[in-house]
Symmetry: C2
Subunit: 654 residues, 2 copies
């Protein structure tokens, strides 16, 4: 494999923009790899990427065909008067996210049938574009609401953003195409309408911001970056009308550069922060970049679930205040996890700080990957950390509502998550490694090959093999002669704290930093082994997280574990684990000694004597992301420790 | 004072229906008193009832005048085409609840100015009634939605219910009036439209059910009771279209008689249960009555906050599942507390079980009375048990949204709570005592006189004096010669567990049951003293309430206490109380020994060492219902006990 980036003289030409991942900053400390430079070869991620190609993409397409969301474009292109729009007003975006996923998949595949489906779908979208570039199936026709008449809730620019992202994926994998032309015309229309000489407004749901920044990067047209900048800077000045949830819901309470934390609707906050960082990078705005970094830091320290999930409120899909992280009402929307990864990845590219890769790993494996059912044909929208009741079984043929079941649903009334999972899985390996002028950085582990040429001129080919996330041994084998010294940087995950590293036949050394750096001329067959500690471990929460006081969780490697019990078995709700007993490590999870806290039924649940503890024997804990694949169940991540006897009084009923 | 009920021969005649409280069952174990039979004389409740008369009623009226909610009726009565309706679609009901409150107030007052305001407001409402009896300002005009076109969300019958309740209050205090005529015409229209020969449908928001039952009782027209029965029986059969929150939101998931618990939107669930019990009583349907009793029992045992508040979800204002009672996201809507009292009162009248009076006391003092600001000019809509951040200060002149502040707001976009508080305060003493053929039952304590004649012929006059809810001594003095034996029943609150009782100059005896019964011929000057233990006491939660594991609360007498700290003082969020130290009882609250759990700032809030505890000295706890009267603050009811050291590992960042 070769790549145009291999020749530094090409780095500034339009041709170099052809290949790349979803995020290709003009400048960054770490450089992303292209899909030509990194490729999954097996293991956990290859299996999921194959499931995505074989199941998820088709699942999304056939659902949207059947329920008319794709048909909206055909009707929009027709001259039929008064046709009825299928689905809520922003379903166009689901088609675009599917197209983005297809584009990434086509970037590494020769699947002619998929290519054909992609082209036919693009043609149907393109046919709905209006002469001035506007393209939305819910607005602007005589029987519909006027264009841009409801920026608070209408999601027009949000949909455009996803169309543009889909086009960028096509540019980065194929260079051009009909969708790219559509996106450019649409972006020009938006520039005309909302640009420096246009209307001073923003969309209630950010997304156009990172999309425009990326289109600017991909096409070299700085106007798009300027427009992204305008949208970022305008926010927080009250341009959106007041809504019941308060203006922080769509981040219009404070200018981005003045905010100390992410807040409000989690997906909106994360997409906006990603776009703001893009703008900061492209305009050299260090103040803005520092504000986004600080927001990430505060949010991770105080508003993030153990799984990496974000969003504590069902009502407004929003962050709670600091340390408000209820496990049983965790919203932890799949799309927020994806938004968090978008942001962490951008920050990692700029700073190289492995903390960003740590959170990305945690969120990807424990929040995003909790969404798809193991067959790829159903999804969680929200990702609770405590399911008290099995709930109802979602219909396989009907649209589901969010969060009423312990089981994943095939499709939702608001179905942003399945297509977001699709585009993420289709491009997931692009988040695993980066390069610099003289080195390669491995951020995520699994089974993949990196094949690139550094700016130093060194050709580098590494094969990474590992049973990750279940096994802790990672083997990196050089397949090329690098000719000059190359630095291989391996992340030591924060959860591990240390790693045992062996270079070739040298002795094993224990490393306790955040990374291991091995600089040498690599020869074919050179082997580096990284051994990460995979014993299950207890995790205790910060005492300020009221909702999980007195509980513990268990992690094993990068995975958060949970206790799941079948609907017809004992419920997890009254389980207590013995934290002084052994924590056993099992093949993919852990085992603990459990007790049942038997509480006498009482007419009033306050002021009673402590529960008596009955032996439950050994309880198996399994990876959180794999729960709910075997029928209705109850589940919890945070496991109550035995209650402390207290010298306090009692009292009977209300 | 005399009353028509004094003569048992009048008990079946229409004249006896003139006087009474909000609930006058045709048959019950305990008989409610009329406003002629019980009257507040001082103390906590007299002060609040005066504030209601002098501030709350006028506050509600002037707000609704200023923002056009009353004006809607004028516009509806006019021939002006296309006028714009002010407020959301169910604001008519706020005017009706105000009229109900005014009616109760006028029942014991000679306030000519209030009477004049009442009559003028009734006239404006009456003018909007249509020839066929229909009366709603949001539906049915050419530019509005058609009548009954959105039973799920339109609240038409809900509004009618409140108009009818207001009319019933007028019947019970004045016998008749224009509003009574309006209500009867409206109820006849509803009977015509939805009765046995009408459309088989129900309203998304129950309220018409108890209202029709009461109108049937007040007028003797059984058709209204039959219509209430139809509405109750139809619910749970899928007559309402599916909504995102699921059909349990408006209790259309299960027939009332098949449900094991209250569920869904708390106010709807409680109003429906109240109406179902009314129907059960009037039709002798013991199965239905037993179902409602069981729902109350289950809900109190598993879905009720320490304050008596109900509703764990902000999203849908709904009950959570069993033991899902997060203090920081407690919705505990004021109106749900009022609905709970409506239900508990009805159950108390039927069974005499003091548990219903216990919950009513708890809910009234700690949930409903937490709503009004001490000056009566602002209200809580939701009643959280943990305010983490002071939040924003609500505007004094603008409509507020719910639950964004630690302070009460003058008025809301959806402003059901202030008018509900107004009608409750205006009739609150009617929940304090009942009578039977040969006795009087005192359920709630305070300062009031009971003056009635029993069916046995005994005239009974009792003066109750007490510094309740702050003082535990209750003195009941007879002011009349009862001529024959009368049983005075005094509730021993469940929170007390026992009481010291002294009859005249007899010795003091400690009683541990649920009631004290004193049967004798009472003479003027006879004194019964009930002493309740007012020492502050620790309360521990059922271990299944995950959200408050490892915490304690403190109660004093009937009051739930809280820790409140000013916005500029230390936050309550990291306080720990020493449960092994002394719990001091103070004048109106308690004092505990506090510690601050100092936690090092860390990049990731999981897996850290326990906090170090710093001495905070003595912390004052105050009645929960009185918090937030001194500016923005943080507050919590459940106080963390010191964390238990555990033998579990640590780990650094994400």
């Amino acid at each position: 494999m070769t790549d145009t980036l291999a020749d530094p003289t090409l780095a500034e030409t339009p041709a170099t923009r052809l290949r790349g991942g979803p995020v290709m900053p003009t400048s960054s400390l770490l450089h992303p790899l292209t899909s030509a430079e990194i490729r999954l070869t097996g293991g956990y991620w290859r299996r999921w990427q194959r499931t995505n190609a074989e199941v998820v993409l088709g699942h999304c397409e056939s659902w949207m065909e059947r329920i008319g969301w794709i048909g909206n474009f055909d009707r929009a292109a027709s001259s039929e008067p008064g046709w009825e729009h299928a689905g809520i007003e922003f379903v166009d975006s689901e088609v675009y996210k599917l197209l983005e996923g297809m584009a990434w998949e086509l970037g590494r595949s020769d699947d002619a049938e998929l290519a054909d489906r992609y082209e036919r779908l693009v043609a149907r979208v393109a046919a709905a574009q209006e002469p001035d570039g506007y393209l939305h199936t819910s607005f602007g026709r005589p029987w519909q609401r006027a264009r841009y008449s409801d920026l608070e809730w209408g999601h027009e620019l949000y949909c455009f953003g996803h169309l543009i992202q889909a086009a960028v994926a096509r540019i980065r994998t194929a260079g051009s195409g009909l969708l790219v032309d559509v996106a450019v015309r649409l972006a020009d229309h938006v520039y005309e309408t909302f640009g420096p000489d246009g209307r001073e407004a923003v969309c209630g749901h950010p997304e156009i911001e990172p999309a425009l920044a990326e289109l600017g990067r991909a096409t070299g047209d700085r106007r798009y970056i300027e427009l992204a900048r305008l949208f970022v800077e305008r926010r927080g000045h009250g341009l959106l009308r007041p809504i019941e949830y308060g203006q922080e819901y769509f981040q219009d309470d404070l200018p981005v550069r003045e905010a100390a934390t992410l807040r409000g609707h989690a997906v909106r906050a994360l997409y906006l922060a990603a776009g703001a960082l893009d703008v900061a990078v492209e305009t050299g705005d260090e103040t803005l970049a520092a504000a986004v970094e600080e927001q990430w830091r505060h949010t991770v320290a105080t508003r993030t679930y153990l799984t990496g999930g974000m969003g504590s409120h069902h009502q407004d899909e929003a962050y709670g205040v600091d340390f408000e992280l209820p496990p049983d009402r965790a919203y932890s929307e799949t799309c927020a996890g994806i938004g968090s990864n978008m942001l962490s990845w951008r920050l990692l590219l700029q700073s190289g700080d492995p903390a960003y890769a740590d959170l990305l790993e945690r969120t990807l494996l424990n929040n995003v990957m909790a969404s798809p059912r193991e067959d790829g044909a159903a999804f969680f929208y929200t990702n609770t950390l405590h399911q008290r009741n099995p709930g109802t079984v979602p219909a396989e043929d009907d649209l589901s509502v969010r969060a009423l079941s312990s089981l994943r649903a095939p499709w939702f009334e608001v179905s942003c998550c399945p297509t977001n999972v699709a585009r993420t899985l289709a491009s997931v390996e692009l988040y695993f490694a980066t390069k610099t002028a003289d080195g390669v950085q491995i951020h995520q582990y699994g089974e993949f090959d990196v094949d690139t040429t550094l700016d130093s001129g060194a050709p580098v080919v590494f094969s990474v093999t590992s049973g990750y996330p279940y096994r802790g041994s990672v083997v990196v084998t050089s397949r090329a002669e690098t000719r000059r010294p190359v630095t291989l940087t391996l992340r030591i995950p924060a959860w591990a704290g240390h790693a045992d590293v062996q270079v070739g036949s040298e002795g094993v050394s224990r490393v306790t930093g955040r990374t291991v750096e091995i600089t040498r001329v690599f020869h074919p067959g050179d082997v580096i082994t990284l051994d990460l500690p995979m014993d299950a471990r207890w995790v205790t929460p910060d005492p300020r997280i009221d909702a999980v006081r007195g509980t513990v969780a268990v992690e094993r490697g990068p995975l958060v574990l949970c206790l799941e019990q079948a609907a017809d078995g004992p419920s997890v709700n009254d389980v207590v684990v013995d934290t002084s007993a052994t924590l056993w490590t099992t093949d993919r999870g852990a085992a603990v000694t459990g007790r049942r806290a038997a509480v006498d039924s009482a007419p009033w649940p306050y002021g009673k004597t402590p529960a008596t503890l009955q032996d439950l024997g050994t309880l198996q804990l399994v990876p959180y992301s794999t729960w709910a694949n075997h029928g209705p169940s109850t589940m919890r991540v945070w496991l109550p420790a035995p209650p402390t006897p207290r010298s306090v009084g009692e009292q009977p009923t209300p």
